[in-house]
Amino acid sequence: MRLLVVEDDPDLKRQLVTALGEAGYAVDSATDGEEGHFLGDTEPYDAVVLDLGLPKRDGLSVLEEWRRAGHKFPVLILTARDRWNEKVSGMDAGADDYLTKPFNMEELLARLRALVRRSAGHASSEIECGQLRLDTKSARVTYDGSPIKLTSHEYRLMAYLMHHKDKVVSRTELVEHMYDQDFDRDSNTIEVFIGRLRKKIPVDMIRTIRGLGYCLSKGEDAG
């Protein structure tokens, strides 16, 4: 899962990036409206945290332009403006949720999790695939009730596959959603991580579909 944080305050941005990184997301960040707009326009994010009062370009207009361009990623507005008419105009511009400063990091994480899940079409905070369970709240994966130990990169890969279970996910897509933009991307590492995941769950749950990518499903034997 890859997120974009657009926030002009350097300290808050650092905190957001850290907290979101710890929660298992790959995080990109921008400090002004133009940079934020460019990143959102060019990278496939799973969710965006957007401040409204931004230098160079106002957050609302950035959001409106993303929506006009057809970007569907969920956007959470994080702003000090707490009047209801400001919330209404934010939501009408295409935001999916609205959080006012000062805020609780836990609440931000919960809302983001919900946004990501909903945009992938899952209603509950737990996603199941056969015996495999992903608890988005605690960022834990269990198989048949027993926890599976995952590194952060493995977790990101697993979480993305779980959110898009029963769908074919291309290798590029995985790369784009697993790493932030500064990471030295090498699509071969994906194969390495897939290999590691296959060792921790029944092998046939992640199938390789030649020329297309991977697909996580219940598997023939299990369930």
Binding site: D9, D11, L12, Q15, A19, G53, A80, R81, D82, R83, W84, N85, K87, V88, M91, D92, D96, D97, Y98, T100, K101, P102, F103, N104, M105, E107, A114, R118, A123
Partner: protein
């Protein structure tokens, strides 16, 4: 009319002037009239005196001749004790000497007083005011005439009197009429002054009322056609009010900017301290929480004060309600809430759109946070309870959440109180609603909902 007022000053000055001038006028008029009356009176006496002399003196006679009653022109001298008398008596009476008297004296005799006798310049006789036989006030004209020559010469005193009491009565009557007229005139003037002052100062009342309206927020400036003398005052006042409003507006913007600018650092501190479980971290956490509430509180206050300046305007309820329902459905969509709103057509709220949104937004947000599956909003126009009362509208927000006990409902409306710390939010929602409703003189009740949860009911002025 208070003592220290323009009206009282104008009134008192005018009344004082009237009270000084009218008595003087009265006194002058009275004097002129009395002089005139006396002049006529003296003329009459003068005529009578000369008549008496002409009738009694015959050439070569040594004693006065008694005038016949009818020959004497003035009939008053024949009326008994009329106060109009004449008398001719010798100055040194011999036993044989006769005293001649008018019919009106009826045998009584007049005597000249010893004092007070004057001889006015240019008159032939002495004049004295005295008492007649009936104790009436009389004026006497008296002169001594000499009959005969040498040793045979004999002096006779001629006295003619006129009734002063008659004159006194006439004067008294005139004076009472005069005073009555003048008193009426004075009262009339004072009354007229009173109304003049009120009428003249009425524009000031208009100014006072205008200023009251500005203070109570009904008007933004001093309006109306005012007299030329007050127009500069009006202009200056409006300029002053405008500059005041500008200052307030700037100050408010600064408060808002400050508050908003503080929110980001507070967020940073909150998050930083949250991960620090040392006593220091806990302390920072606690203090930052207080800062957050303070910032929010003063921001709300600044907004609230801004509102009280202008409560005008009418807001359509339906679009505002629909927008909020749309937003909240999106925000709380995850729970699968069914959020429904019914609103009377053409329902308008007498007040600012922002305030309506703030009240409704907070109530709906609370309902959505706690509801299990359903939130229902109904907005209706209430018929006025009594004729002449302003129309009201009622907005009811019902949810099927756990609801609140009676004690909890009382606490919920206080600032910063949160009944459950586990649900997100600053806990300021309901207290803002309470304050805004108070600002609009509306009513805000919490009750048990038909859906099982909380029912929040707003009564607000309708436009």
């Amino acid at each position: 009319m208070r003592v220290n007022s323009l009206a009282f000053r104008l009134f008192a000055a005018s009344a004082l002037w009237t009270l000084v001038v009218l008595p003087i006028t009265g006194w002058v008029l009275n004097s002129i009239y009395r002089q005139e009356i006396e002049r006529v009176f003296d003329l009459r006496l003068d005529t009578a005196w000369w008549a008496l002399v002409n009738l009694s003196v015959s050439p070569g006679a040594t004693t006065p001749r008694e005038p016949t009653a009818t020959a004497f022109g003035d009939p008053s001298y024949n009326v008994p004790f009329s106060g109009w008398y004449w008398q001719i008596n010798p100055v040194d009476p011999a036993p044989a000497d006769k005293v001649l008297i008018s019919t009106s004296l009826q045998g009584e005799q007049l005597s000249l007083p010893k004092t007070g006798v004057t001889t006015p310049l240019g008159s032939a006789y002495a004049v004295v005011d005295s008492i007649g036989p009936q104790k009436e006030r009389v004026r006497m004209f008296s002169k001594i005439l000499t009959y005969g020559d040498g040793a045979a010469a004999k002096q006779y005193r001629y006295i003619v009197t006129g009734n002063l009491t008659e004159t006194d009565v006439t004067l008294l009557r005139f004076r009472s009429t005069l005073w009555l007229a003048l008193s009426l005139l004075g009262a009339g003037l004072v009354l007229a002054t009173f109304f003049q002052v009120r009428y003249g100062l009425r524009p000031l009342q208009q100014v006072e009322q205008g200023l009251g309206d500005i203070r109570s927020g009904k008007a933004m400036r001093l309006e109306g056609e005012l007299p030329t003398e007050i127009v500069p005052l009006q202009r200056e006042l409006n300029a002053l009010i405008k500059s005041n409003q500008d200052i307030i507006e700037r100050a408010r913007t600064h408060v808002g900017n400050l508050a908003h600018a503080l929110k980001t650092p507070i967020s940073v501190l909150t998050n930083e301290a949250r991960s620090d479980k040392t006593p220091f971290g806990m302390k920072v956490s606690e203090q930052v929480g207080i800062m957050r509430d303070q910032v929010q509180h003063h921001l709300d206050r600044a907004r609230m004060v801004a509102r009280s300046g202008s409560l005008g305007g009418a807001t359509d309820v339906k679009p505002a309600l629909d927008a909020l329902v749309r937003v909240l459905s999106k925000i709380h969509g995850e729970k699968g809430l069914k959020l429904s709103a019914t609103c009377d057509d053409q329902l308008t709220f007498q007040g600012e759109k922002q305030d309506l949104e703030e009240m409704l937004g907070n109530l709906l947000d609370n309902a959505c946070k706690w509801a299990k599956a359903r939130v229902e909003v109904t907005a209706t126009r209430l018929p006025p309870a009594k004729r002449g009362q302003p129309a009201m509208l009622q907005i009811q927000v019902n949810d099927d959440g756990p609801g609140l006990t009676e004690a909890e409902r009382a606490v919920a409306r206080q600032r910063g109180k949160r009944l459950d710390e586990t649900k997100p939010g600053s806990g300021l929602g309901l207290s803002i609603v309470t304050e805004l409703v108070g600002l609009y003189s509306g009513k805000f009740d919490l009750d048990r909902s038909e859906l099982g949860g909380l029912s929040a009911r707003l009564k607000l002025p309708a436009a």
